[in-house]
């Protein structure tokens, strides 16, 4: 299967103090042309590391195994100009726009720089394009904004500028690393709506990282759940939320607060989230799983195709049978 993005058995280890620290362990997933895939997980589960591996922005000393292909091109083989070109076609929308935009350059400079460098557009033409796209992402008075500096814009506006800059690259694939986490809730909703609409209009594929299971389900076609640097379950968003297969996903789903129910205490998952380097043998979730069996501790479960997706749990069928009785 070859989509716009294919990640095959990706394992990333960082240089630790005494021994190498794994952060991603055998991650595989793929995104088809025009498809939005959500990547959900707790802090330290390896969501951002996955994105950083794709754009090759890993910390020094990191080792990467497996391969990542974008439209069939193995990213690992790219160097210099070819790598820069590939990066230019895969814009990343970062979590904190204020930290990711050069504070001493105007918004117009930020938006037009890539156009002028990669497409050799004139300044005036590039500014026209930038103003049009700013308009599309819902920034009012686009012309004036181009003359302003990042510190003069609010977080929500700045994130729209970031989205505009991503769209200006005319990509086929967007990488969004928790694009709304740094924004307040109402702005979050607006920014998500704009992003979702523009993505669908243009038929862009997207890898959307979030720790909000429901947000991912709302805007993504498929959702992947990560735990301790591994993919636990990948399924169509709606069914993942309604009928989670993996015990971890199920536990996450029951831990959600709901407006409809009133409860004194939210259900929690016992223990704390583990990072990849602390993961036990066998299934990474076996220390916290309510349905753990001896076999879970012995062998690491592979991602198996099941129903409308894939799941990495040996007991899925048994558990499903039980829950349906």
């Amino acid at each position: 299967m070859s989509g716009i993005l294919d990640i095959d058995h990706l394992t990333v280890t960082l240089a630790g103090e005494d021994r190498p620290k794994p952060v991603l362990s055998d991650v595989s997933m793929s995104i088809a042309e025009g498809e939005a895939v959500g990547l959900v997980g707790e802090s330290g589960s390896g969501k951002s590391m996955t994105v950083r591996s794709i754009i090759r922005l890993l910390p020094p000393g990191a080792r990467m195994e497996g391969n990542i292909r974008v439209r069939g091109v193995d990213l690992g083989t790219l160097r210099g100009a070819a790598l820069r070109k590939m990066r230019a076609e895969m814009p990343v929308i970062f979590q904190d726009p204020r930290a990711h935009i050069n504070p001493v350059r105007s918004v117009g400079d930020f938006l037009t720089e890539a156009l002028r460098i990669h497409r050799r557009m004139s300044r005036a033409a590039a500014e026209d394009r930038a103003a049009d796209v700013l308009d599309e992402v819902g920034v009012s008075e686009a012309r004036r904004r181009l003359r302003q500096y990042p510190h003069e814009l609010s977080g929500g506006l700045l994130q729209r500028v970031m989205i505009a800059s991503a769209l200006l690259a005319e990509p086929r694939l967007l990488l969004a690393d928790e694009p709304t986490t740094a924004l307040d809730v109402t702005t979050q909703a607006e920014v998500m709506a704009v992003m979702d609409e523009l993505r669908r209009e243009r038929g862009l594929a997207m890898l959307f990282i979030t720790h909000d299971l429901e947000l991912a389900a709302a805007i993504c076609d498929r959702t992947a759940v990560m735990y301790a640097g591994r993919v636990m379950e990948v399924r169509a968003s709606a069914s993942l939320l309604e009928r989670p297969l993996h015990p971890y996903t199920a536990a996450l789903a029951t831990a959600r607060p709901s407006i409809e129910r009133k409860v004194d205490r939210l259900t929690t998952i016992p223990g704390r989230p583990l990072s990849a380097f602390e993961a036990p043998d066998g299934c990474a979730f076996n220390t916290r799983c309510a349905h753990v069996r001896e076999s879970c501790r012995e062998q690491r479960p592979e991602l198996r195709t099941l129903l409308d997706g894939q799941v990495a749990c040996v007991r899925v069928e048994e558990l499903q049978a039980v829950s349906h009785d």
């Binding site: 754009i55 922005l57 020094p60 100009a81 790598l83 820069r84 070109k85 590939m86 990066r87 230019a88 076609e89 814009p91 990343v92 970062f94 904190d96 930290a99 990711h100 935009i101 050069n102 504070p103 001493v104 350059r105 720089e113 890539a114 460098i117 990669h118 004036r144 003359r147 800059s165 690259a169």
Partner: protein
């Protein structure tokens, strides 16, 4: 909209002046006056700075010659004013060359990191152990005395000081998210450094350039004092301090004192301004000077 931009402009102006403080403004004024005098001074002086008239040797001030004469009967005011030009241009070249080379080395080392960074740092450490003035004299001795060799030697001698400082700032800047975001946008290293990283270092660079200007002035004066920098009969403050020595012993200290006083005054002014600039680093926005003429 107009109202807000007016308020912003005013706030900016206040921050700019207020940041310097009265002492800083005085220092800036002294420097500005010196620069103007160096630029137009030689035309102002009524006398030829190199015309000697032994009848007036060590002569007191006379109308038209308000500062009197030196040991060879040359007009002191004319010599001070022409001397200002070389005394300011010399350090300007030292700072320009040293800052450019030092910043380039520092940014490359900070950007590449790894073995290149460690190698550059070790080479800089070795250069630190060599006093700048000594290097300047050595170069002057080998390539022949003169302002050019002294300027090059001092510029080289200043590189480690500038590079070490800029490197640490550049390393911090290089790991900021916005620089990584630019890399991800597919911009080349050269573009990112030139258009984004260095402009963010400008406040630091401006402050350091001002401080180093003061140091360079003293060091060049020392080299000239020893006769290896500017060559007589060309006027230079360092040369004048040296040639006034015999006068000091004979009870005519005017030449050494005046030239020395000018050096002290300007060096203090540069140090004060440099310090003010680095204190107010976050308030000032020297990069605004470098923007294409547009609205703020």
């Amino acid at each position: 909209m107009t109202a807000t931009s007016v308020v912003r402009a005013r706030a900016g102006a206040r921050a700019g002046r207020g940041g310097l403080g009265p002492l800083g403004v005085t220092a800036a004024t002294v420097i500005a006056v010196a620069v103007v005098l160096a630029a137009i001074g030689p035309e102002l002086a009524s006398a030829d700075p190199n015309a000697s008239d032994f009848a007036h040797a060590y002569g007191p001030p006379t109308p038209g010659h308000p500062l009197g004469y030196d040991s060879q009967g040359r007009d002191l005011l004319a010599r001070l004013l022409t001397g200002a030009r070389t005394s300011l241009l010399g350090p300007l070249w030292v700072v320009a060359l040293g800052m450019t080379a030092g910043t380039a080395i520092a940014v490359v080392a900070a950007w590449r990191g790894g073995w290149l960074d460690s190698m550059v740092s070790s080479v800089l450490e070795v250069m630190f152990s060599f006093p700048g003035v000594l290097l300047a004299m050595l170069v002057a001795a080998v390539f022949g005395p003169g302002l050019t060799s002294a300027v090059f030697a001092l510029a080289v001698a200043y590189i480690p000081y500038i590079a070490r400082l800029v490197r640490s700032a550049a390393v911090a800047e290089r790991h900021k998210p916005y620089i990584q975001a630019l890399e991800v946008q597919g911009l080349g290293a050269f573009t990112i450094c030139l258009r984004h990283l260095v402009p963010n270092l400008l406040p630091l660079l401006a402050a350091q350039a001002t401080l180093f200007f003061g140091y360079a002035m003293v060091d060049l004066a020392i080299v000239s004092f020893f006769g290896l920098g500017v060559q007589p009969p060309d006027a230079d403050w360092g040369v004048m301090v040296a040639s006034g020595q015999s006068g000091v012993l004979q009870g005519y200290p005017a030449e050494s004192l005046l030239a020395g006083g000018c050096i002290v005054l300007l060096v203090v002014a540069f140090n004060v301004l440099g310090e003010r600039l680095s204190d107010g680093r976050r308030v000032h926005r020297p990069w605004r000077l470098f923007r294409r003429g547009g609205t703020a």
